[in-house]
């Protein structure tokens, strides 16, 4: 096997400081090429749009941008966005905790199927999320006219916007808590109960402290999506100025009116929200050592 072509390397023997390549690493050239490709790609796809939002918003100076943000319709949109998040996030939080408790702390048949059902809204187009509520409550449905006769307007009103938002943000918190609570097992709860705690005491004093960071993480992601949702909300909103316009819809309206600075000014608020979310997310990941998950 000894190949003579390499025999001349024997002369290096006296100086074992010959550059040694770790057999599990790429050459520096390959390494920096790959890093450059990655950075160039991310710059083009991720960073540039982010910069564009702020740069377009400030195109005519910060006063103009500020004026478009404090304008009445924009303020109304912000209020609605907050209201929607304040309703949708806690509801999904309660659901997430209940679902995780029943799935992670008990063994029953059909569990995997239930988890798949909970994941369903991630796989469905947001437009379909809006569509299903239109079919449920719209003209030609059974429910819509009945509710209307009671004076309850769902579609093209705030309740529809809330429902559509709940649909698309439905799995976030449950998805975060289920694997976390499954990993933690049932030992702590069983210990608490054997020491005489009741169910609520066990949850508040034992389970909740164990899951608080994961819970916060899920709330963070759920909130970001709730405030930023566009497709589902746009279908059910009806776009009544000052009434059913959320911030993302306000961006669209301003954009379609060629009021670009105002559109980007409102958009930059949403982008700031995204940045804050990312920073908090990174901090939380550091705090509780969470792995990255793909299914957001």
């Amino acid at each position: 096997m000894a190949d003579s072509s390499l025999a001349l390397q024997g002369s290096f023997a006296a100086t074992p400081q010959t550059p040694f390549r770790d057999p599990t690493a790429e050459s520096p050239v390959a390494k920096w090429t790959l890093i450059s490709i990655a950075i160039a790609f991310l710059a083009l796809i991720l960073f540039m749009p982010l910069v564009a939002v702020f740069s377009e918003a400030l195109r005519r100076g910060w006063q103009v941008a500020l004026a478009s943000i404090v304008e009445a319709d924009a303020v109304a949109a912000m209020q609605l966005t907050l209201i929607v998040a304040v309703i949708a996030v806690p509801l999904n939080l309660v659901f997430g905790v209940a679902a995780a408790w029943s799935i992670a702390k008990f063994e029953f048949k059909g569990k995997a199927f239930l988890i798949t059902l909970i994941d369903l809204p991630f796989s469905v187009s947001p437009v379909i999320a809006g569509l299903v509520y239109i079919l449920l409550f719209g003209a030609g449905s059974y429910l819509g006219p009945v509710l209307n006769s009671w004076g309850l307007q769902i579609l093209f009103a705030v309740p529809g916007v809330v429902l559509a938002t709940i649909f698309v943000t439905f799995p976030f918190i449950a998805r975060e808590l289920i694997p976390l609570m499954q990993d933690q097992g049932t030992g702590d709860e069983e210990a608490a109960i054997s020491l005489g705690a009741n169910g609520w005491q066990t949850f508040w004093n034992v389970t909740l402290p164990n899951i608080k960071w994961g819970l916060l993480y899920g709330v963070l992601l759920c909130n970001a999506r709730a405030m930023g949702e566009f497709g589902a909300v746009s279908v059910v909103s009806g776009r009544l100025r000052g009434e059913t316009i959320t911030m993302p819809l306000q961006v669209e309206i301003l954009y379609n009116e060629y009021n670009f600075v105002a559109a980007f000014a409102v958009a930059s608020l949403l982008a700031l929200l995204a940045l804050v979310t990312l920073v908090l997310k990174t901090v939380l990941e550091r705090v509780y050592g969470r792995d990255h998950g793909a299914r957001h």
Partner: protein, 288 residues
Amino acid sequence: MSAILAVPASRRQWKQPSVIPGFGLTFGFTIFYLSLLILIPLAGLGWRSAALGWSEFWRLASDPRLIAALKTSFWTSFFAASVNVVFGVIVAWVLVRYRFPGRRLIDAAVDLPFALPTAVAGIALTAIYAPNGWIGQFFQPYGIRIAYTPIGIVIALIFIGLPFVVRTVQPVMEEISREVEEAAASLGANRFQTLWRVILPGLAPAILTGFSLAFGRAVGEYGSVLFIAGNIPFVSEIAPLLIAIRLEEFNYPAATAIGAIMLILAFVVLLTINLIQAWSRRRYGYGG
């Protein structure tokens, strides 16, 4: 105590007994909330499309504009997910294997498409790739338009799909054992052969899963595409947009038919992901 002991251990139960309380309450609420908000509305879509009748459904589904929109959706999503696989794997590798200034920032930034509202991404990408935009201006002299064409759709779909590939592949990459790479080297494989024949095939299940997730998300995407696509029927109109258009026309039967088709597509993607993972786990002993 005696009551617990009296339960025959051999009986196959739907739920295993537990000392932890609250199953009835939490499970009941879970099913109630899930049914009320997700399952019943989705079932409503299925029921309404079934109520159309087969011939009516077929007539609506074979609308040439719809078929064109579905094709556009499919191909742009497929292409975007493919681009994401190539660059997503590179980005994940760079983040997992190399230490360089700014790595943490980049790692955090990969999640930007998860956090940034799609409408914001849509108008920002449009601004950049429009004929007078930062990047669009360089293509304009050559007669290449990016915004308001299917290329623009692909760009938007690359943006929203990227984290799915990176975040699926990244944890699997982190678990590649050094021993396996050393084994390949000791058997004479050079670094490229090790990467190409050992590491990449080992990542295949994760890459396929990431591709499917990105593809599934892209097919349903609406907000970011709306602005950059130009929305020209038969050219740059995607299926979700067509649903929205039909709804605005109060043409609910047509919207229902498209919705049903898209829902089926979503289920197929979901099923594909589950099959990839089950297959990979059975054969290789690890999931994607």
